[in-house]
């Protein structure tokens, strides 16, 4: 078990705890303590949560793409430090006044929701010829918001394609959903080899060799599509390899529950 202290910045406090508390629980974490306060930047939600280490990435990805999250910071607490941390939650971990002994700290900037939202109708209109729009999005958003923005655009597109083209029929297990829904849907966009739960994307146009990684879009696309189509609904897509970051080879994504 690990304990995390998460500081989340949002535009307003109404419904913030309920909305993000559900995200925490859906990610397999237990909410130990929380506090909401307002400052001149916006509304802050501070949560101390406990869960399995392997669920951390999933929780961070869900927070990074949540519509109410402008930015967030997750700090890994030393064992037993949760009680002490919750007593003085106002200062942020990055301010140096952290609680317990933080062994790692990850700062995420959320997606540029406005730019993604304004681009989605273009994606729907031109689908599946959407790469010019995605390349434009990559360049339009700030570098630190690029991956989260592509992930959000991918999730929205994946869910939309599922509802439009694949919703009629029974709920499928993950393996069948990959074979009968995700694979043909991915192939309508790009050349891809599928081995069990691994998608090997060939020549991903969003990931120029040596450049930045854009295949987060496909992670979101698969998550949106498979979460809507398969049972159980929590689906996580991990990046195993990206030719943008590693310079060669296919981009490889792994799907898991």
């Amino acid at each position: 078990m690990i304990e995390l202290e998460i500081h989340i910045l949002s535009d307003r406090r109404e419904g913030l705890l309920v909305g993000l508390g559900r995200v925490v629980i859906a990610s397999g974490f237990t909410l130990l303590r929380q506090r909401v306060y307002q400052d001149n930047q916006g509304a802050w939600l501070v949560m101390i949560v406990r869960g399995e280490p392997e669920q951390q990435l999933g929780l961070e990805e869900m927070l990074a793409t949540h519509a109410r999250v402008q930015s967030f910071e997750a700090t890994l607490l030393a064992p037993g430090a949760a009680a002490q941390a919750a007593a003085t939650p106002a200062p942020r971990a990055s301010d140096g006044a952290t609680h317990g002994s933080a062994s790692s700290s990850i700062t995420h900037i959320g997606p540029d929701v406005g730019k993604v939202e304004s681009m989605l109708p273009q994606l729907a209109r031109d689908y599946p010829k959407i790469f010019p729009w995605l390349l434009a999005l990559e360049h339009d958003v700030a570098a630190e918001a690029r991956e989260a923005s592509l992930l959000l655009a991918g999730r929205r597109t994946g869910t939309w394609v599922y509802k439009r083209d694949y919703e009629m029929g029974g709920k499928l297990g993950l393996a069948d959903a990959i074979k009968r829904i995700a694979t043909p849907a991915m192939r309508s966009l790009i050349s891809v080899d599928v081995h069990d739960r691994h998608f090997h994307i060939q020549n991903c146009p969003l990931c120029p060799p040596g450049g930045h990684s854009g295949c987060r879009f496909f992670s979101g696309y698969l998550e949106g599509m498979l979460s809507a189509s398969s049972a159980p609904q929590s689906v996580l897509v991990r990046h195993l390899h990206c030719r943008g970051q590693h310079g060669a080879g296919d981009c490889v994504l792994e799907v898991s529950h």
Partner: protein, 247 residues
Amino acid sequence: MPAHQHYNLWLVLLSYVISVLGSFTALQLAVAIPLAQTARQRMMAVLAAGAAMGVGAIWAMHFIAMLACNMGLPVSYDPVLTALSAIIAFGACSLGLFIASSGAFSWAKLAAAGVCMGLGVTGMHYLGMAAVMMAAYTTYDMSLVAASLLIAIVASIVALWLAFNLRGRVQMVGSALVMGLAVCGMHYTGMAAFNIDEEGGQVPAGFANGMRGGNLGTSIFIVTVMLLVAALVIHYKRQQRRAAISI
């Protein structure tokens, strides 16, 4: 084929076309059952799909096939048993589609749904045959009767698997073609099991008041038109829904 049966091949082909059309309409209604928001919506979708399958694909197909079959004797049909055969097909198919469309896929559920549908097809056929009135004794070859039941169940399972587990054209068209095979395969195997002995046969009471080919033709025409209209409405509604989904 027993020597006393002679078929009009155009009507045989038409019987398959009707069973495929009815199956297509029913299965397209059925795959939307999991999307129902309320219990009432779900029940209405199940009943609509069951009606298209039971009355359209099975009952109408059966009586077109009966019109295609010349047994060398005047034939009429008991109206009560004929109506009851349609009700059995409707009820069994509704139950089968309800089972197949509930929750996540499992082989046990698929088998249960296929057995319901297969029994619906078979029950309708043999009750429909019990409604036949003619001046002859009738007997069945029980091994062929068993084979007809097996065909109906196995082909129904395959059709339901195609309908609920695949997506795209194979789901839409393949499942209807296979379900049509289930219905027709069962029917014509069942007819091969049917033997008549004209020796000493007497015209049964009520023969004169039974339904004749003309009555059946009108009923079948109405059912067919309803199936075509339903298929067109489904297609139109699906196109509307697809266009209305926002990203």
